[in-house]
């Protein structure tokens, strides 16, 4: 492949090209629109899989794909410091994919394709739907790649807005309320995130670049700059005052770090969601169209965990280390609370929503471990849960289309009428409860294993969640598939080809990751190296 093609840009913006194509298609022709959308989503999928295959974690510097160019430059005051220096804001178009991003990019592209298949159940305004859908895909791919705070923020907002319309127009009965709740809650999160980002840009984002005779004093959103500056005051380049009096006005104080860390934690905790910020998610799960929930539960929640890792833990390892116990306890609370509450829900979609809360708790445990095993477990769990919940909502969509309800009290015995779908549902449930051989087990096990090193008691309590997960998953899945079947379901048809294809594809990935997890863990081998350098230097010093 030629090196000069900016693959990351192609990956991110190919859905936008698809939108252009869609604009020229007749708006009543749902089949053509769907086909175009599916074909469009295949482009990022193929590119991301290719990048994933190309990625060589052992070659640390060369192994990471980077695209970087100045983007927005705003001069503040050119006359500052007697004309020898000028203050500028500089934000870059800076995309990068490393061992942490790539699995999530592949996940996003894959789930998007599968959701495009599942959108067969959408029954109005197809054109607008697929346009928002593809915008959403661009947004989420961008989120996982952006390495400039402003760029990240823009992509993050793009997902919010497109999801708002996807829920608000194509959702179920209470769609508008759900969309509003979603937007307000996440808008709040974004606002908090923006405050944290601005604080970062004006402190740790500072650098001075020689520009001929004069100095350019740059406030940048460059992630690498911020990370280096946060880690080490000496990393600031050419601070004029610093040399003079030995102090660095841009180096963040301890209190400031805590403030920004907590802001970032809360911002992404809303997205993840962490108790008690989860109520918006329940509504989205219950009201949004299933294909959108596939993306939401499969990918968008993962943005919360990704952001937490990328901007919380990586930038502030010391704070994360000090807060590890709190994070772990929140994780346990998520696991148990989600599992116990899921047990009494009568609406299958709510069972799955609470199950997501429970599974995200495992991610928090992995993050709290702050060691190689646990963090890889957390990322593995992200990917695995993304696939599993996408699969589960795919089935929910197909079920709802047939039975007109997802209320557990009304369903039963569907294994007779829908043997294929029931089998897939049962397998997905098994994956969700962490059956070895399927992907859910690996993430769960690695997260527990990692955390067990530092917090044995907490992990042991969390392991009880494994039982509870089995309880609620079996209760709901068996209620749907097993038992006597109501007569009115006797005439239902099993999955059509367009429904079966994504089911089988997702199952295949779940199985592949469960049997051969190295395919994913190997790519993350050096994803956390810098974090450990900092943590180890702390322990050493």
């Amino acid at each position: 492949m030629p090196e000069q093609i900016p693959w990351l840009t192609v990956l991110t913006f190919s859905p936008l090209v698809g939108i252009l194509v869609l604009l020229f298609l007749p708006k009543a022709n749902s089949r053509a629109l769907r086909t175009a959308a599916i074909l469009t989503t295949l482009v990022p999928l193929v590119v991301s899989l290719w990048l994933f295959a190309q990625y060589d974690p052992s070659a640390q510097a060369g192994g990471i794909f980077v695209e970087q160019t100045p983007w927005i430059t705003a001069a503040l005051n050119s006359e500052a410091l007697n004309g020898v220096a000028s203050y500028v804001y500089e934000f870059q178009y800076y995309l990068a994919a490393d061992g942490l991003s790539l699995p999530l990019i592949v996940l996003a592209a894959l789930v998007a394709t599968m959701a495009a298949f599942a959108s067969v159940h959408i029954n109005k305004r197809w054109k607008a739907f697929y346009i928002w859908f593809l915008l959403l895909e661009t947004g989420m791919l961008g989120v996982f790649m952006a390495r400039d705070l402003v760029l990240f923020f823009l992509f993050f907002e793009l997902t919010l807005i497109s999801l708002f319309f996807l829920i608000g127009i194509w959702g179920l009965f209470n769609r508008e309320k759900a969309a509003n709740t979603f937007l307000i809650y996440n808008g709040l999160g974004s606002a908090i995130m923006l405050i944290a980002f601005v604080l970062l840009i004006v402190t740790a984002g500072f650098q001075s670049v020689p520009d001929g005779e004069a100095m350019r004093l740059v406030y940048s959103g460059n992630y690498e700059t911020i990370m280096a500056n946060l880690a080490d005051p000496a990393a600031y380049v050419n601070i004029p005052d610093a040399q003079a009096n030995g102090s660095n006005p841009f180096f963040m104080s301890e209190g400031m770090r805590w403030l920004v860390f907590i802001l970032i934690f809360v911002a992404f905790a809303i997205k993840l969601p962490v108790l008690p910020f989860h109520t918006w998610m329940l509504r989205v799960h219950a009201e949004a169209p299933p294909s959108v929930v596939m993306i939401h539960s499969g990918v968008l929640l993962k943005m919360g965990a990704y952001g937490l890792l990328r901007f919380g833990v990586f930038l502030f390892p010391q704070q994360a280390d000090d807060a590890a116990y709190v994070i772990a306890l929140l994780g346990v609370a998520n696991i148990l609370y989600g599992a116990i509450t899921a047990f009494v829900q009568n609406e299958f979609k709510l069972v799955l929503a609470y199950s997501s809360i429970s599974h995200m708790g495992i991610v928090l445990l992995g993050i709290a471990s702050l060691n190689q095993i646990g963090l890889q477990g957390a990322v593995f769990q992200l990917v695995s849960h993304g696939l599993i919940s996408a699969l589960l909502f795919l089935i929910v969509g197909s079920l709802y289309e047939r039975t007109g309800t997802t209320d557990l009290r009304e369903l039963g015995g569907l294994a007779r009428a829908l043997p294929f779908m029931s089998g897939v549902l049962l397998t997905a449930g098994m994956a969700s409860l962490g059956l070895p051989g399927l992907s859910g087990f690996v993430g769960e096990f690695l997260a527990f294993l990692g955390l067990f090193d530092s917090m044995k008691g907490v992990t042991a309590i969390a392991a009880v969640g494994v039982i509870l997960t089995a309880v609620y998953v079996l209760r709901s899945v068996l209620k749907i598939t097993f038992g006597p079947m109501s007569e009115r379901y006797a005439a239902l048809n099993d999955a059509r080809l367009i429904e079966a294809v994504p089911m089988i594809a997702l199952l295949a990935f779940i199985l592949l990751l469960g049997v051969y997890p190295s395919i994913l863990t190997d790519s993350m081998q050096h994803g956390f190296d810098r974090l450990f350098e900092q943590l180890n230097s702390r322990v050493g010093g």
Binding site: V344, Q372, G437, F482, P484, Q525
Partner: protein, 626 residues
Amino acid sequence: MEPVTVYSQYAWLIPVFPLVSFIVLTAFGRGMRSAGMLIGMLGSLAALVLSVLVLLERMTNGDSPEYNYSFDWITIGDFQLNAGYDVTNLSALMLFVVSVVAFLVNLYSAGYLKEDERITVFFGYVALFTFSMLGLVLSDNLLTLYMFWELVGVCSFLLVGFWYTKPEARAAAKKAFIVTRVGDVGLLIAVLLLFWYMPEHDLSFAAIENVFGQTGTIAQGITTLIAILIFVGAAGKSGQFPLHVWLPDAMEGPTPISALIHAATMVAAGVFLVARTYSIFEASQAAMDTVAYVGAFTALFAATIGLVQNDIKRILAYSTVSQLGYMMLALGVGSLSGGIFHLFTHAFFKALLFLGAGSVIHAVHTQNIHEMGGLGRQMKITAWTFGIGALALTGIPPFSGFWSKDAILAVALDKNPFLFAVGILTAFFTALYMARLYFLVFAGKSGAAGKAHESPAVMTIPLVVLAAFAALSGFVELPWAGMGRLGAWLTGEEAAHSGSGLVLVVSTAIGLLGIYLGWLIYVKGAIPRDFISSRAPWLVRLLERKYYIDELYHAVFTVGLRASGRALDAFDTYIVGGAVRLISGAAVWAGRAGTRMQNGQVQTYGLWTVIGLLALILAIAGRRFW
């Protein structure tokens, strides 16, 4: 490579055969019937052949080095999790047991489930189970074992719930999965503990044996904790008290499954696990005692329940629980070979009993033993083979169960006379409930179920084969010096046999006494059947209700979980949701107040202007006094 490991090298193929059957059956099985059965049988036959070859190889070269192959499953930084297989004498023996029973059950099912419309699905599940069980046996480390451990659990779940439209089957399947999962969490935590405490984070059984074989490497407390957690896992799978509740309910599954999974193989996995990690237990006396006492208690406890059950399969199920308790007792008093020996013989005679029961159920379409009777005349083969199985279970010489039970009791007498007494008492109850079962079903007048006829050959052949095993398999280890071949082969040293005639005589006498008593009650009628129930109805009631354990669990766990779920759900809706509504409500209220200020009337604006002016004046003037 040494020539003696020819077949052991290829031992990994053994589980692959049934796996291939499973994949083929799942992918293309729709619409197949006899072809599907053939695929399932071929897979298990291939596994059987290779298992026999491996076993023969290990038998001829008993002390040759074990064959081990492992590879990195996950590598994370400096940590590695391996997967691999390990051919030891123990695993070779288990391979043989599993594949023999699996093959015979496959054969038998072809007759038993001939009418069932989902027969290929059944064979697929059985193949998947066979794969998982063989994989479990072959695993060379605890993590791989744990994975297969869960897989056999899920296969058991699927097969218990095979007749999924029945609500009882659904409930039983769910119960089986969840209760064993409780045990699995114990095992999971044990794996986590071992990972962080083992040198090099090595989870392989060989390393475990090395580390725990020498004292002092790992602290005593941790050793005990690990051992007990492993035992919790084993108790879950092997139906030991207090996690035994799922096993009797699991009888909702098709009878061949009860024979394969819930009698011969999977439930013995717990015993196998303890045997495989025996060095950990040996390093901790407390853990050994726990195993011994739990095992002994379970043996007696389940046997008493078995006395009053009326469902033929449930009696056998409680008998299984009881016999598994024996095996645990053997392991707990330090007799590895005794436990495995009993596992070996039990696999055959209990599978035989279940398949025989299946043959009876197939003929009379009821499971209630009071509705049967006089079947011995109509079903000769079944009656004879079942009788052999019953005698083996009861421990009457020269059948296999006698020798293995004797091996256990002899060691128990040596180590702990109390446990020996419990064992003997259990043996008496065993004889009694088996006599009751046998005489009620096969002797006497025809019952309510009416006429029956013998099952087809495809079902009786497995019975005969298993009967041969049940009769003869005990001779691999005899309690006299120089005759303990199995123990010597398994552990490298022959178990020290007291060889005392005492145990032999006592256990035989107790067995015969139980049978005689049963004969008196159920055939001769010399003792009225309601002898106990008329005098102590509460006792019978207690036993019939299985000591109210199920009710207790329901009250504590199910109701408790549901109540806490409701409470949390309410908390979620009213407290968390309420807080959210409160905040949004406050925002809405502020907005409303704002609109009310701007009602378009000049006078209101004027009023607010005045108020604002006053506020400004107050603020400015107030600053002076601040």
